[in-house]
Symmetry: C2
Subunit: 275 residues, 2 copies
């Protein structure tokens, strides 16, 4: 992969990387279209279920996988190179190195999943070195991940432009996610409440509400009506520093993010807005 | 720097990087010659006294600096690009990212300087991204640093070949170091004991000694004869894992390293040998 990437670059080609854990859905495929908009000549999609971003009690082993389906979807979407390294290639014996980002990884997802982002930044650094992308596209669905990756790229001077593509939703508003297949029909039905709670927040703010706690409480009450939900967090925060914003002031760029469990399935969603 | 490096690479040129903290001596200049041997077209020398690899009680502020002299020496040695970024360029506000290597950074130098290698690996990762070297040359003087950098390069898949160049010594055996200027005339005189202790170790091993503790004690006794010395460590260890080797067995690749303080000046030295 690295030799191919180097050869492409030496031939004047621009490389676009789409890092994925596979089990592709329209969200992933929209990232391919987004890459094409940045005059990329060769689109590399990586497919690697990265164990180090799962904690021991999470779903690494049961994470959905379907290589043949992914291969067809990727090829149909115009992916030029599907890069699917083995676990042993990525993490050989005596693997000792990590890339970590401080502060913005200890809130929201990072508070509940303390080793998650260290796993993400380490694998993304490796994928960047292996595929040498001019452009890499990440989904806004994983909002905190996008912020963390951009911080890492800035701090470590990676020469890769990061594109964050908008969330792709099902017709009823549920954000697309490989984990949606875990939902029971009943949970799937209830799960639309996540998007509805984000819409409610935007309506309240559009109507002049500036108190974060009021927004959060309204979202919480809506979600809690669903019997199978258990809320991990609902957070209106600064979109860059991810710090709590008790007061939503004019000009603020705000990320409202949430994580909700439906029995064993944990879903996240978010929206970005400028007050 | 990054744009220049990219332009050079696109033009088919091979880049060699020599990372330094300046106050150049013949040891540094030997690294330039070593880079040339690896068919490098453009030699970049970076000159940056990196604060994050010093602990608060160390000599960051009094570390010797002489930019004009360095510039002349580098240019005389055939350096094509001298890269001397400012502190603010390298560590802008809200810098949050680190590259760290586990286990091999917690022994020897890392035991005494617990934040040192994290500072080193982070700055080297940044320099690699900024200068895009095909080859980077480090000195064997900082033996543990060389091992740590090679581990980082392997683990994170940097596409840079690491060359480790032999120690350059003064006529009386003292390993060249920017910190040698700190030594009083008396300490300078005593400092040759470091190299003599390494020679003694090699003689003992050549004569058949296989017990690490015996070798260490002999070195210790020789160094301790000097009134201004205080020994931090003397360590015969595995050259790759840096683990203690109580028994020196045939075929083992051994790094004998030591750190000794002369009043406020801390010197290190080492030798590599195959049993």
């Amino acid at each position: 992969m690295q030799e191919t990437a180097e050869r492409l670059r030496n031939g004047g080609k621009r490389i676009g990387l789409i890092p994925t854990m596979g089990f592709l859905h329209d969200g992933h495929l929209s990232l391919v279209r987004r890459a094409r908009e940045h005059s990329v000549d060769c689109i590399v999609m990586s497919l690697f279920v990265n164990p180090t971003q799962f904690s021991p009690d999470e779903d690494f082993h049961r994470y959905p996988r379907d290589f043949e389906r992914d291969k067809n979807l990727a090829s149909g979407a115009g992916v030029d190179i599907l890069f699917f390294p083995s676990l042993e290639e990525i993490y050989p014996k005596r693997f000792l190195t990590a890339v970590s980002v401080d502060t913005i990884t200890t809130v929201l997802e990072g508070k509940i999943r303390p080793t998650h982002f260290r796993g993400v930044t380490t694998i993304v650094a490796k994928l960047f070195h292996l595929t040498k992308p001019h452009v890499a596209v990440f989904g806004q669905k994983d909002a905190q991940q996008a912020v963390v990756i951009q911080q890492m790229v800035r701090d470590l001077n990676f020469d890769t432009q990061i594109i964050v593509a908008p969330i792709v939703r099902e017709a009823d508003g549920l954000a697309m996610s490989s984990r949606n297949v875990y939902l029971s029909p009943e949970e799937r039905n209830e799960s639309t409440v996540l998007y509805r709670s984000l819409c409610l927040a935007q309506q309240l703010i559009a109507a002049g509400e500036r108190d974060s706690e009021t927004v959060r409480t309204a979202m919480n009450n809506l979600i809690a009506q669903m019997p199978h939900t258990q809320i991990d967090y609902i957070s209106p925060a600064d979109a860059l520093t991810l710090e709590d914003r008790p007061l939503l002031e004019t000009g603020n760029r705000i990320l409202i993010s949430l994580a909700v469990r439906f029995t064993a399935t944990r879903l996240i969603d978010n929206c970005l807005l400028t007050i």
